[in-house]
């Protein structure tokens, strides 16, 4: 870690902040453009004009939109993204209830996906062109091309309905032991992992194959290095950049984009919270969720870039 590295991280953080600001403006504009009026929607059809006007004033809806944007941004920076329009609960509380669930699902899925994807990617790269490589490749492309909801529904049909091995729901309130939780999450995690493994292992394989065909790998072979040494010591460190980026992209997708799985298994995560918020026009909540997903994405990509730079001595040591 030298000064150049720290400067780069500082620059990336600043750029990340700028990106977040632009996203905030875009999200705010987009929600402004949503048709309909929140106050009317909240009060229902029997609302009197006076009541609607009162509610609009209370929600600052009578203010110009740039002023509401400033109010909202100020609140966001102070850690208060506002109050839900629907149930009058602070957005922080709503998100705080759901975030642990999402993090739990994401971390369990990632801890299954990453090692498996690396293993598949490395082995297919080592034996590229073999029957094993072709079979794995075909299976992965087959799985990636099937939509998630179909995989999830089939898994429920087979494992929960026919075989009755696993529960069809993914969430049960109250304390439970580790194995009970694992049983609950098995199908959703499996569904998510299948897609993630596909992308990550193909990226790992592609990055490794490029490196395995380089002169220095041939040189290592001619020094008498065995296949495992060649892959783990000579090839993998040089393929780390693209691999960590693939992992970061797949993982950020786990945090925000798992709506289909959350819906099918009725799992109380963030994605479902956000979709519900869109359907009820709960704008503060939608905005806060969007900002959270964006920040998580930027953080993961930053970590991936830093790892890629640290793994390359040319960039690490000037």
């Amino acid at each position: 870690m030298n000064a150049a590295m720290l400067r780069l991280i500082a620059l990336r953080l600043a750029l990340g902040a700028l990106t977040l600001f632009i996203v905030a403006a875009l999200v705010f504009t987009a929600t402004e453009l949503l048709p309909g009026d929140v106050a009317e929607a909240l009060l229902g059809q029997s609302a009197t004009p006076a009541a609607v006007a009162g509610l609009r004033a209370a929600l600052h809806l009578d203010q110009p939109s740039w002023w509401r944007f400033c109010l909202w941004l100020g609140g966001l920076l102070g850690g208060d993204p506002g109050v839900s329009l629907v149930n009058r609960l602070p957005v922080v509380v709503l998100i705080g209830n759901r975030l642990p669930n999402s993090l739990k699902l994401a971390s369990i899925t990632a801890s299954v996906t990453v090692p498996l994807a690396l293993l598949l990617g490395i082995t297919t790269a080592m034996w590229r062109g073999s029957r094993y490589d072709r079979m794995v490749g075909m299976a992965i492309i087959g799985i990636v091309s099937v939509p998630e909801f179909l995989i999830a529904s089939l898994a429920v049909l087979v494992f929960a309905v026919k075989l009755r091995w696993l529960p069809a729901l993914a969430f049960r309130a109250g304390p439970q032991d580790f194995w009970a939780m694992m049983r609950l999450l098995a199908i959703p995690v499996g569904t998510l992992a299948l897609v993630g493994i596909g992308q990550m292992s193909r990226m790992t394989r592609a990055a490794l194959v490029t490196v395995l065909e380089s002169s220095y790998v041939e040189m290592a072979r001619l020094k008498g290095a065995g296949p495992l040494r060649i892959v783990l010591i000579h090839a993998l460190p040089n393929a780390l950049g693209p691999i960590v980026n693939a992992i970061a992209l797949s993982t950020s997708f786990l945090l925000g984009g798992v709506i289909i799985v959350e819906t099918i298994f009725n799992y109380p995560g963030l994605a479902k919270l956000m979709v519900d918020a869109v359907s009820t026009r709960d704008l503060p909540l939608v905005q806060a969720c969007a900002m959270l997903f964006c920040a998580a994405y930027l953080a993961l990509v930053l970590v991936a870039d830093v790892v890629a730079i640290l793994s390359n001595p040319r960039l690490r040591q000037r």
């Binding site: 002169s215 220095y216 041939e218 040189m219 001619l222």
Partner: protein, 603 residues
């Protein structure tokens, strides 16, 4: 094949290597090497020399297969070994020194780790002992800072040093046989000398048995006891080095020897031709500009010259001297920070975007690698038709006829027009690359190392073509090369660059005439000569390092005849010489002549 003689250390017989469909790229190759002997395999690209050398390790590149024959190292039958047996042999008993050290080192590991790796894989030495041995080898290879160089990463070490470190990497296990695969081909001639010297010292001291693979007879003459000449995967001639040079028996060997010294293709340029291109006080470089307009990383310093219409200016220098940057500046790809470029007296804007279409048309550039300059997804016709449309608005039948004419001009059959570049040979691709420049009907063509990637015989044919086109079309060239003999063969004037400074600017005929700039002397003396013992007769070349003081002569750290107290403090003045050249040097004509004659007298 005769039975192996009892004192043969390595013996090969009936070796056959095939590619995909079963076609043999190496066939019926057999030879023996005695312990401590150095055998050279020589031939052009595609002659199978590297393939044979790799077979000594029981290794064939992707798509190739060792289909038959016998390779015996000591008492081991290499081709009969299992995968584990091969891993045991490689790096320990047979070691490999690759062509490009820069590509052969893992960029993510320190050099010491990689040098000692084979000793550690094979369990010969523990880490500390291996590192001690590596430092000893670094010292024997005359590397600067032998104690510390192992701690660096490959990108922190110069090309010549890196190549010497590959020798340490091969020799760490005291192998029975060392394969040197064109280990100096990618280096400058000046660097090559030091690397060759280091290799030969360790090979002699350690009494190493070696196979030296090269396309360069002159280099091989310094290294090998015996030479095998290869063509198309078959042996043409095998003889002791001296005899092969003195009395080549095979016609192909004689052809190779003849291609070594290219004949001049120059004609006297019209004396009073007006200047086509005039360059004055050019300063250019990379990085942000300082307040005075100078670039952060200057590459060219105050370079000026003139190319008379219909003549050829050669630009030579080692890698990194600014040759290609000069072409890029003239083409407008890199705007100059200062200085002017005039074409027929008319100022050319610095940036390519500011030049008129006609100005663009009149100056064309041909890049070194036709492989990357030609779009692999387009046919030759398409590639050539684009400049015709862009500059001349030619379409349809007119363009078609013109493409055929252009192909005819570069001596290619019109039937090639509908092929993609991938279906052409290296020489053919370079001709298409050249035809693309001709399509614009330029007055000046900037040729950036256009023959460097080609075999000697193919390169010579491309040079012939350049000379013919110059005569027929009245073209002028700026001909960039690192190869002195190529430049002498085609150029009327020569400009020698060192770290972006114009060290000497002379008529091509006067270049070899003493007195000359000390750097010209060094460059000329560094070109390998086709005789054994040449390597012993050249002095040290030292590594190219720019001088530390801003005002010193840039060549001072390397100059064998520098004057302390003057050359390291004061920039050298331009000095005209009576042979019709101008040099940057503090020494005057008489004093240069005296020291250079004295140095030639020395053994």
């Amino acid at each position: 094949m005769s039975a192996p003689s009892p004192n043969a250390h390595v013996s090969v017989s009936g070796l056959r290597v095939t590619v995909g469909g079963g076609a043999a790229i190496v066939d019926d190759v057999g030879f023996e090497i005695a312990r401590g002997e150095v055998l050279a395999l020589i031939g052009e690209s595609g002659s199978g020399k590297t393939t044979i050398a790799l077979a000594m390790l029981g290794y064939a590149r992707a798509g190739c297969r060792i289909a038959g024959g016998r390779v015996q190292v000591g008492d081991t039958d290499v081709l009969g070994l299992s995968a584990a047996g091969l891993a045991d042999l490689r790096g320990r008993r047979v070691a490999y020194i690759p062509q490009s050290a820069a590509a052969a080192f893992n960029p993510a590991q320190r050099l010491m780790t990689q040098v000692t790796e084979s000793a550690r894989i094979h369990g010969l030495l523990d880490r500390a002992a291996a590192e001690r041995k590596a430092v000893g080898l670094f010292r024997a290879l005359a590397l600067p800072d032998p104690e510390g160089v192992g701690e660096r990463f490959p990108h922190q070490v110069s090309g010549g040093q890196l190549q010497r470190i590959t020798a340490a990497m091969a020799l760490i296990t005291d192998p029975d046989l060392v394969i040197l695969d064109e280990p100096t081909t990618a280096l400058d001639v000046t660097t090559q000398i030091e690397v060759l010297r280091a290799f030969r010292t360790v090979v002699r001291e350690l009494h190493t048995t070696a196979i030296y693979v090269s396309h360069d007879l002159a280099v091989v003459a310094q290294m090998a006891d015996r030479i095998i000449v290869l063509k198309g995967g078959r042996m043409q001639e095998e003889a002791p080095t001296q005899r092969l040079l003195d009395a080549p028996a095979h016609p192909y060997t004689r052809e190779l020897l003849a291609a070594f010294a290219p004949s001049p293709r120059r004609m006297e340029a019209p004396v009073a031709a007006p200047a086509l291109l005039e360059v004055n006080g050019l300063v250019a470089g990379y990085g942000p500009q300082a307040r005075d307009g100078a670039p952060m990383v200057p590459v060219l310093h105050d370079v000026g010259f003139a190319i008379p219409a219909g003549s050829v200016l050669g630009v030579i220098g080692e890698s990194g001297c600014g040759k290609s940057t000069l072409a890029r500046v003239i083409a407008g790809l890199l705007p100059a920070a200062r200085g002017t470029v005039k074409l027929r007296g008319e100022n050319l804007p610095a940036r390519v975007a500011d030049r008129s279409r006609d100005q663009l048309r009149r100056v064309q550039i041909v890049f070194q690698s036709a492989d990357t300059a030609l779009n692999p997804a387009r046919t030759v016709r398409h590639i050539l038709a684009r400049p015709l449309k862009f500059y001349h608005g030619l379409d349809g039948d007119a363009a078609r006829r013109r493409v055929d004419a252009l192909l005819d001009m570069v001596r290619l059959p019109a039937t090639l027009a509908d092929r993609p570049p991938g279906a052409l040979s290296g020489g053919q691709k370079q001709r298409v690359n050249f035809a693309r420049a001709l399509a614009a009907e330029p007055e000046l063509i900037l040729c950036d190392e256009v023959t460097s990637a080609l075999d000697a015989v193919v390169g010579a044919a491309v040079l012939d073509l350049l000379a013919e086109l110059k005569r027929e079309l009245g073209l002028s060239y700026l001909f960039i090369s690192h190869d002195l003999s190529t430049v002498r063969a085609i150029c009327d004037q020569v400009l020698i660059l060192y770290f972006g400074h114009r060290m000497e600017y002379a008529q091509s005929g006067a270049m070899l005439q003493r007195p000359m700039h000390p750097y010209s002397d060094l460059l000329i003396a560094s070109v390998p000569e086709l005789r054994t013992g040449w390597l012993d007769s050249v002095g040290p070349t030292r590594e190219a390092t720019p001088s530390r003081h801003r005002t010193a002569c840039v060549f001072f750290p390397r100059c064998p005849v520098s004057i302390a107290g003057l050359c390291d403090t004061t920039p050298p003045p331009p000095r005209p010489l009576s042979k019709g050249a101008e040099i940057l040097c503090h020494r005057d004509e008489a004093s240069l002549l005296a020291v250079q004659d004295a140095m030639k007298e020395m053994p």
